[in-house]
């Protein structure tokens, strides 16, 4: 029986902090997942080809993973524009996966030069000039950083030749069809509009005062837990909306309100509907929600 040829995986970095590389290294089954691929080049893992080979343009590539923000000119590796390198391999690849918000929408590094720095196929939510050429093979995995299991989901789907359902920004719906709010352990407090009075408390919802963007941020952080253990919101830190095209925003630890009303509504919820419910729910005081969840010093 002929040996099945593995998908050739090339991981290229543009303007990046390496956050997604590092996050993926935390995957508990990293090598098992990578065993389905031939890693032709990766910035930190042992690879078949060197960066010099990559720059020479001679490396085979089926799956191109892009990390970092994109700039057309002025960012070089080995004397070659990284944008050219990316385009060389993007043409060759059967799949292009942008990992992280920088590679997908522009992200943190876009702040340095908003006019010229963007994601590879999207500039915030707008399609870049490259989009049309690569749209059929494009998968977006925004996040700062991405969860390692979001990438392993995509990799294993590709390795098994399964179709990945995506939304209009090319995000897999299995991962981004939810909001970060989904699965948050504070959901009862959200329903009854009980504020968290500070960070790190187990009680209260972080949406009303503490800046949580979970109700309008797409992502699986409370479904696929970080380190298989927890999430930002579960431990009492607001969601920063890091998967969204608008990331990063300012004042991440404070909810912008207009006369006490959150300036941004939960995803798809009309303001009139939200405020009607809020007015009703706030009229009731539920004793359980005013108490500590657990006391250790009794």
């Amino acid at each position: 029986m002929p040996k099945k040829s593995k998908v050739k995986l090339l991981w290229l970095q543009a303007i990046t902090c390496n956050g997604n590389t590092h996050s993926f290294l935390n995957h508990p089954d990293l090598f098992s997942i990578l065993s389905h691929f031939e890693v032709v080049h990766h910035p930190t893992l042992e690879s078949v080809y060197t960066m010099q080979d990559v720059i020479a343009g001679t490396v085979p590539c089926d799956l191109l993973i892009l990390e970092g923000s994109f700039i057309q000119s002025g960012f070089l590796k080995g004397g070659v524009e990284v944008s050219q390198l990316i385009e060389t391999y993007a043409k060759r690849a059967k799949y292009i996966v942008s990992v992280g918000t920088c590679a997908t929408f522009g992200g943190i590094f876009k702040q340095k030069d908003p006019e010229n720095i963007s994601g590879f196929a999207f500039d915030l939510e707008e399609k870049t000039s490259r989009y049309k050429m690569y749209a059929t093979k494009l998968i977006s995995l925004p996040g700062c950083p991405i969860h390692p299991k979001w990438l392993s989901y995509v990799l294993l789907m590709i390795a098994n030749k399964n179709k990945i359902a995506i939304d209009t920004l090319h995000r897999p719906v299995e991962l981004y069809g939810y909001t970060v709010h989904t699965g948050c352990t504070r959901n009862e407090y959200f329903e009854w509009k009980i504020d968290a009075k500070n960070f790190g408390l187990k009680e209260g919802c972080l949406f009303y005062e503490q800046g949580c963007q979970g109700p309008y941020t797409r992502g699986s952080c409370n479904k696929i837990l970080w380190n298989d253990t927890s999430s930002k919101t579960r431990v009492g830190t607001p969601c920063f909306g890091c998967t969204e095209p608008t990331f990063p925003q300012k004042s991440l630890f404070r909810t912008k309100t207009n006369m006490g009303i959150p300036a941004k509504m939960p995803l798809g919820v009309p303001r009139r509907a939200y405020l009607t419910l809020t007015g009703v729910v706030k009229s009731f005081k539920i004793k359980r929600f005013s108490e500590k969840l657990m006391e250790y010093d009794r």
């Binding site: 006369m259 006490g260 405020l275 009703v280 009229s283």
Partner: protein, 197 residues
Amino acid sequence: MKIAEKKALKRESIIQTALQLFSTNGFHKTTIPDIATKLQMSVGNLYNYFSSKDILAQEIIKYTSEALGEKIRMVNMSEATAEDKIHQIVTIYFTMAEEKPEMIEYFLRVYLSNREVFSDGCEGMVCVSGFITEIMIFFDDCVASEELRNQDFFSAFGLFMGYLGGMVFLKGEHVLPKEIAFYIDDISRNIYNALKA
């Protein structure tokens, strides 16, 4: 006309008649037989629509709140400035106090004065959310457009609605020397000056 439509019309006529009687004669002095007599219907039939006087009272406050909220909703959906919207809301409130005084009187003299009637079923804002929601949207829009100063909702709400309620109360007590419409411009300006950014 279908039976359901007939019933809805009857229900509304009961609400309007009861609203009139409660506002004029007081909640406790008005009985279910009084309302039934005025409507020329039997007491038993009236109970088919509302199982108790308290339930009827609660439905009336929802009805008046929705009616007022509907008018403010129109203001919210317009492109007017905050100053203009305040003027429109004051006008709506005082016009209603003039043309349908029972609507506002009911709120002031029945709803606020007989809290025990509303304590089970109309807690907090439950029965007035139709009105409160639109006021919230008004404040939210005007702060977002940076026309009004951002502050706690209730400090702004109290200033606005407390002022209007107080004036209508004075009107009801017949102590205002002029027609209530006379005060619309000055009061609108006062509210805007107090709340502007």
